[in-house]
Amino acid sequence: MDTNQYLEVFIDESNEHLQSCSESLLVLEQNPDNIEIVNDIFRNAHTLKGMSATMGFEDIADLTHKMENVLDAIRNHKIQVTAELLDVVFESVDHLEEMVSDISNGGDGKKDVTQTVEKLKRLESGESIENIETVVAAPSETVTEVAESKLIFDDFEQTVLEQSMEQGFSAYEINISLREDCLLKAARVYMVFEILEKLGEVIKSTPTVEKLEEEKFDTDFSVAFVTKENQDDLKQKLMKVSEVDVVNVQPVQLKKMEMPSDIEEKKVEEVAAVETPKPTPTKATPTKTEAPKTVKNNNSSKTIRVNIERLDILMNLFEELVIDRGRLQSISMELNHNELNDTVERMTRVSGDLQNIILNMRMVPVETVFNRFPKMVRQLSRDLKKKINLEIIGAETELDRTVIDEIGDPLVHLIRNALDHGIESPEERLAAGKPETGSVELRAYHSGNHVFIEIEDDGAGIDRERVLQKAISKGVVTEEASHSMTDNQINELILASGFSTAEVISDVSGRGVGLDVVKSTIESLGGSISIESEHGKGSLFSIQLPLTLSIISVMLVEIEKEVYAVPLSSIIETSIIKRSDILNAHNQKVIDFRGKVVPLVFLDEIFEVPREDYEDDGFLSVVLVRKGDRIAGLVVDSFIGQQEIVLKSLGNYLTNVFAISGATILGNGQVALIVDCNALIK
């Protein structure tokens, strides 16, 4: 079956199922007795198994199958939900996520998960997983114990072995050790396999054949082998291969099946899943519970899946329309024809509504980014041995998809930072009179034309003294400059590049190369980040983001014959001042604006606008813009007016043009450049 066309759907749905798996797992952790949640996870795992088997991703199917067995055992009250068990299930979900992401990156979704599989198996049979790591991770330690089997069979291999035994073959486990000084290990392996293949059939080898061929093993390897030869002959033949040190042949001990019939059933089911193109193999297993059937019906709200590319195309087409709308508006103004004016006005209104709808369609709840954090925090707090409670507020807040795509990594970084550097260890917290469990709050909310995302922790806060010392020693600021800095300015030093206050570099958060990337990513999205912090009480990182990136309101200004666009979001107001009001501070021209000293930026100088005959009428048009709490006045020739424009990039050839963040197309078809106010305010 050609499965390629389903691949995209498979990846999407797998990710969804895995996501809901991990969400449910987190809930389960809080309510270990709630079987309903286990059922949920089971259903997700089951669907995933069916899909992956259909698509031919055996490793995923296999791992989910094992996971499902454990979940099934929980459902049937055979085993209890323990922290240990959840860890293993989480681990499996992690592996599955990696496999799926491998597939979406064009890989084959294969991954060696033997250890996890073994843990799952032990869990299923109610054994402890305590000692498993040593057994599986270091098989060489057990080499001398002949009785210990080094081969672990999955269901398929088990069945093959059983069947061949029924047909009168003997199954042996052969452990072969090559001599320490063996030079051509791969060649010896090849010779051994050649002999074996003449005599019977190799069912499995550990390490895998690929690894053996690449010499990725020590000196020992094991194979499971079915043959009609007897044990001693086999051994002698193998010993003839030179440089083979020890050969151990012993009959395979198949594990006692607790529920052989159950396994048979599952076998059938798996086969069915492979052969039938249906994503859920429920029909092949009449003995299964009804649960999986309900999966599809869950998505009953009336939505359709639209490829994001189509939405992008729709958006592009609409952008064209907005440009033409601008052109029509200017034509109708010139002509001043009543009916034309009416029509254009109507069209403007309709297209305005259309714009809202299209922009809304591209809005995605931040939940899609936030939902990976609970698991991350859980894992990290374990790694860091801290007790942390993550609270998410406003996950339903919507943001443009382009922003969503970009904001994930910076948020991950900030949260890691809060966990690693912010929240103290339980002992320190108790000593400081705080509750043992630290809290991190992740908030998202709308405000005006912006979305705010805040990360607040009640941890140690920023030690401004240390930050300053560090910044001075690293040359980020000068000693003199440091005296006049405000608290917030000092806080923001931690966002400067080459800065890291953690004395011990940890894997968790950065080497001081992260927070500055966070800052630049956010700024490239047209947003800003600010930090509030009180030493000993905690910190608040606040990110302000624009609602959308594609259509923005700007103020068009003119310098000589050139038109520039200044984003309305950074404009405070416009003003006309007398040239005589300009004051000189050092080399900087400033004005006194409502009691504040505001530096002036002459755009014609910055942009090297060719001046012909410039008439100075004694007045200047100034656009007052802000970046954070700093203000500057942009001097232009004249204001044209406010307009909605479509943001376009300058392309891949012109990158990093100073103080220009992009371009737009005006009503007359010409290109106007968008002024990057952030670059103009130092």
């Binding site: 592009n316 952008e319 064209e320 440009i323 050139e562 910055i606 942009f607 090297e608 606008v609 376009k648 990039s649 300058l650 392309g651 891949n652 050839y653 012109l654 043009v657 100073f658 103080a659 220009i660 371009a663 197309i665 078809g669 010409q670 290109v671 106007a672 450049l673």
Partner: protein, 148 residues
């Protein structure tokens, strides 16, 4: 310019710049436009004339004369902008005239002669002599390079 070597004939666009004729493989050409209003982009290199609106896409424009160091300001009736696409970049090149589309036999292309002696030497991928015309094949990578 590997595709030059793979095929027997290469289809090229021939354009005029000063008194010489240049060629770019058709596969790298997106279109040929008449000159339109160019918006100047401040603080870029001198040969980047600015950007134009190419059917809704903001496209940077390079003045090939400036790029090759041929200083003159002839903007005639025939002046064209050749839109090329190379390594994810779409860029327009201002040329004096777009003359021809022709098939260049692969074996007619020779490496550039050692003594060309002009400033644009480094931008040349090879030369081809067809009848009595000498066509200079441009190395687009070099032409676009320095800005990266």
């Amino acid at each position: 310019m590997t595709e030059l070597l793979d095929t027997e004939v290469v289809k090229v666009i021939v354009f005029q710049l000063g008194d010489k004729e240049y060629a770019i493989p058709v596969s790298q050409v997106q279109g040929i436009e008449k000159t339109v209003f160019i918006t100047r982009v401040p603080s870029t290199v001198h040969y980047v004339k600015g950007v134009i609106n190419l059917r809704g896409v903001v496209t940077p424009i390079i003045d090939l004369r400036e790029r090759f160091g041929i200083h003159s300001d002839v903007q005639g009736e025939d002046t064209r902008i050749i839109i090329i696409s190379y390594a994810d970049m779409e860029v327009g090149l201002i040329v004096d005239a777009a003359n021809d589309v022709m098939d260049l036999p692969k074996n007619a292309i020779e490496p550039q002669p050692e003594v060309v002696g002009s400033l644009e030497e480094e931008f040349i991928a090879g030369v081809a002599k067809i009848d009595k015309r000498l066509l200079i094949l441009l190395n687009l990578e070099k032409v676009l390079n320095t800005l990266k």
